[in-house]
Structure formats: structure tokens, C-alpha cells
């Protein structure tokens, strides 16, 4: 399938939306956390663009997933790295694609195991339809609708590209 997504445009859009939210909510010194793996790639770019002081945090939510009994244990889980105390901080959580919302649910659970942030803002490169729980991103690069059986895949980490894949059976 032809790659119809303009990554730079999406990153610009997400950056602008986040900047606006940061101003609107009077945030002085945010902490950015990317969700392994695609979310970290996107977060690295946005972290740089927004000139955030605190080092980028990394979350691997594999051990927090709710479909563990269906998919089994992922043998290559990376340790999460939350470099600073998140208690009372303003957190910008970044993922590549927002779909069902379950990944974000798992990420929030993990973050709250480390402390109680003042607020969490969710930014994603692409939001697609198919939400299954009441969680929604605050800032998006683009919102799209896809037929069931198709999914979005980000490849990286250096030259980010987005592909639409057809999967055999719906997740």
C-alpha cells in the first residue's frame, strides 16, 4: 500500500497541539514518557521539538496488559525507565497509534504505580476508530477511520514511516 501519511506533517500537527495544551494548562516543566516501542520513537522527536528539560522516560507495558492470558508472556520486555520522581508532575504520555485505549489504560496503571502525577496529557501521532474503553487522546497528529481488519504500523526508529496492514483476523 502506498504510504499516504506525511510523517513530518503529523509530527508538526502533534507538536502544535501539545504546545497549545501546555500553554492552556500553564505547564512549566513537563515530563515526557514514551510507550515502547513506536511511542518512544515518536516521543524522541517531540521531546526534542518541545525542548523538554527532563530526560525522556520509557514505559514497557507488556507486564500490565489485560490480554496476557491470550497472548502469553512477551519474552522481550524492556525495563521501564522513569528517570525522575513523577509525584505531582505534569506528564505528557506519547504513543504512536491510539486504537482501543487498552495500551493507555495499562500505561496509566504503570505510571500510577510509581506515584501520583498532577496530570497526564496523552498525545498520539494517529488516532483511529475502535475505542473500547473511555480513554481518549488530548492531542493528535491526525484522526482517521479504518475498516476492521486493517491496522496501522509505524516503522523506525530513524526514518519514521506509517503503513496500513491488513491482518488475517481482527484483534
Amino acid at each position: 500500500m502506498i504510504n499516504r501519511f506525511d510523517i513530518q506533517g503529523l509530527l508538526d500537527q502533534l507538536e502544535q497541539a501539545l504546545k497549545k495544551t501546555i500553554v492552556d494548562r500553564n505547564i512549566a516543566d513537563p515530563v515526557m514518557i514514551g510507550i515502547h516501542t513506536g511511542g518512544v520513537w515518536v516521543a524522541k522527536k517531540i521531546h526534542q521539538r518541545l525542548n523538554i528539560n527532563e530526560p525522556l522516560g520509557l514505559l514497557d507495558i507488556s507486564f500490565y496488559r489485560d490480554d496476557f492470558s491470550q497472548i502469553g508472556v512477551n519474552p522481550k520486555v524492556k525495563p521501564s525507565q522513569l528517570p525522575i520522581d513523577i509525584e505531582g508532575r505534569d506528564i505528557i504520555l506519547i504513543d504512536d497509534v491510539f486504537y482501543t485505549g487498552r495500551t493507555i489504560r495499562a500505561a496509566l496503571n504503570e505510571i500510577f504505580d510509581y506515584g501520583r502525577p498532577r496530570q497526564v496529557i496523552l498525545g498520539v501521532l494517529i488516532e483511529r476508530d475502535g475505542r473500547q474503553i473511555p480513554v481518549k487522546p488530548d492531542c493528535v497528529g491526525e484522526t482517521i477511520t479504518l475498516p476492521p481488519g486493517q491496522r496501522i504500523k509505524l516503522t523506525g526508529p530513524e526514518n519514521l514511516a506509517i503503513h496500513i496492514e491488513t491482518i488475517e483476523k481482527a484483534a
Binding site: S62, F63, F68, V73, N74, P75, P79, S80, N109, Y114
Partner: protein, 323 residues
């Protein structure tokens, strides 16, 4: 594959009980080590607890004393968010005459999801696995002189952490092989993972009959057996299991088979020294070796938690997926 090994798997071929290393494939052992690697890497995080087994109940059923094994099983289960019950059998119904099977069925009636079993009789964990409900997992935490598969896996994990590739390795196991379920499981795991050689060093009285059929090279002399080895595994002299006069005296044993710095010189310079614990200082190992630069004995204890987390989460996942 015999029936006893087949019992470890679901009809889809997933590992449901972990009773013995015998009959497991290299790829499965490697998968366990890989999953354990994930748990080991997160064990240094500030938050070490994950909701993978939330809502599950695990019973540590220890008919035989153990501090290290039970504690690490307990910690592993707790870090996976399972509820853990430690049954002290000496104060339990078994001592009032209840049969093992009745004990198990009573506990099952309380909706237990996993039994971690240690028993002085070989085959006890298999026996329980054959009789539990289909959604219940059983892990063998040591049965008689038969097997101690989680100990063997944590030893393999330790070896891989320090030596990476199994294929060129020469591994020596020194001590009481005859009474050692640990040694039996280690030898099976090392052969499945494909090490270059397993040297077993022991007096004749502490070797099983037809030892060579286990896929090992037998040595009676420590210096010969240690030559050029990469890993030295010491075994505890199991005084409580000794019947009859298998050894002259402890000091005689130490002189011939106790691991000292002097004997260790025959192994490779970067050889690591392991011991499943508890160690008898001055009986099978000198303090200077146990506490020395090449000793990884305390690492084995740390890794034991990650390896048991891996085995518990994998077996529980398989048992749960079988409707």
C-alpha cells in the same frame, strides 16, 4: 516422550506443569530463559510488581524444609501479584493422617490455581499433577532424589548470564551426585542446551550406577575433572540423606573433593563457581572460594526469583487458556 513428560503440556503443546527437565526441548528451555531475562531486567526497577497473576491463588506445599526455594517462590508469586499461601505441613492435616490426595482435593475445593510442591518422595509432584483439575498448574520444587527443575533453570540462567553461549562450555559438577535431584536436573538441562561437555567429579560411592549413561564424563580426581572447565558447580554434601558409610569422614571428603583456591587453579582462569545452597563451608567448599571473585552463588539466588516468575507466568497462562 513418555506419559510422565507428556503430562507437562496442554493439548496445544503449551507448558502447563513444570515437573522435570527431561523431555523438554531446547527451544522451550531457551524461551524460559528469555522470559526470565525480561523479569530479571525489571527486577531492579523501583516498582518490581506486575499484575500478571492478579486474582490467582498459589499454594506453596512444602513437605520438606527449605528456606531459599520457598522464599524465592513466595517472592516470585508476590511480584506477579498472586495471592500466596505457605502451607507448613508439619502442622497440617497430613500429620493427622490425611492422605496426600485428600489434602490436594481439599485445597482444590478452595479454588487454588497453582501448587508449588516440595516432597521427600520422588514422583510426588507428578502424582499431584495427574490428579488436579485441568485448570490447575503444578510446579515441582524438588521431589526426593528425582528432580529440581526450577533450580536447574536458574543455574542455566546464571551460566548464560556469565558465559552467553552454551555450545563451547565445559561444565564440572562436583559432589554428591547420587543423592542430588539438583545434579540430575542440571545434567539434563546442560545436555539439552548443548554444552560441549559435562564433567561429574565424585567418589564412587556418591555416583549413581551407570552414571555415564546420563551423558556425562565421570572423574574421581578433582584436578583432572576441573581441567579447562568454564563452570564449576558444587553440590552440598547431603548428610541427612546418607544411609550407611558412604564416606570416611567429612574432613577426608574436604581434602579430596572440597573446592579450594588451589584446586580451582586447574579450571579456566575465568571459570565461575556455583552452588545451589545451602553451602557447608569447609566441607564441600572453602570460604575463600565461596566468597571469592569467581563465586556467583548469591547471583544464583537473585536470578532464582526471575526464573521462577517466568515459569509461574508461563505455566499459569497455559493452564488458564485451556477451557
Amino acid at each position: 516422550m513418555t506419559n510422565d513428560q507428556g503430562i507437562q503440556f496442554t493439548s496445544e503443546g503449551k507448558l502447563k506443569h513444570f515437573l522435570t527437565i527431561e523431555g523438554l526441548s531446547k527451544s522451550l528451555l531457551t524461551e524460559i530463559l528469555d522470559v526470565a531475562e525480561s523479569f530479571a531486567s525489571v527486577s531492579e526497577q523501583q516498582v518490581k510488581k506486575f499484575p500478571l497473576l492478579r486474582g490467582k491463588t498459589i499454594i506453596n506445599l512444602f513437605f520438606e524444609n527449605s528456606t531459599r526455594t520457598r522464599t524465592t517462590f513466595d517472592l516470585a508469586a508476590t511480584r506477579l501479584s498472586a495471592d500466596v499461601l505457605n502451607m507448613d505441613i508439619s502442622t497440617s492435616a497430613t500429620s493427622k493422617g490425611e492422605t496426600l490426595l485428600d489434602t490436594i482435593h481439599n485445597l482444590e475445593a478452595m479454588h487454588i490455581d497453582m501448587f508449588v510442591v516440595r516432597h521427600s518422595v520422588s514422583g510426588a509432584a507428578h502424582f499431584i499433577a495427574r490428579h488436579v483439575a485441568p485448570n490447575v498448574s503444578v510446579i515441582n520444587a524438588g521431589d526426593g532424589q528425582h528432580a529440581h527443575p526450577t533450580q536447574a533453570m536458574l543455574d542455566m540462567f546464571t551460566i548464560r548470564r556469565f558465559k552467553q553461549d552454551f555450545s563451547p562450555l565445559k561444565v564440572a559438577i562436583i559432589g554428591d551426585i547420587l543423592h542430588s535431584r539438583v545434579a540430575r536436573s542440571q545434567i539434563q538441562a546442560l545436555n539439552i542446551l548443548g554444552v560441549a561437555a559435562v564433567h561429574v567429579i565424585a567418589p564412587k560411592t556418591l555416583l549413581p550406577a551407570q552414571a555415564e549413561s546420563l551423558g556425562i564424563k565421570v572423574f574421581y580426581d578433582v584436578k583432572q575433572g576441573l581441567e579447562d572447565v568454564d563452570v564449576v558447580i558444587m553440590l552440598r554434601l547431603q548428610k541427612e540423606r546418607m544411609t550407611g558409610a558412604l564416606l570416611p569422614t567429612e574432613s577426608e571428603y574436604y581434602k579430596c573433593y572440597g573446592l579450594t583456591e588451589e584446586k580451582l587453579k586447574f579450571a579456566k582462569q575465568d571459570a565461575i563457581v556455583m552452588h545451589p545452597g545451602p553451602i557447608n563451608r569447609g566441607v564441600e567448599i572453602a570460604s575463600e572460594v565461596a566468597d571469592g571473585m569467581r563465586s556467583v552463588i548469591l547471583k544464583q539466588v537473585s536470578y532464582g526469583i526471575a526464573v521462577r516468575m517466568a515459569i509461574m507466568s508461563m505455566t499459569m497462562q497455559a493452564a488458564g487458556s485451556r477451557e
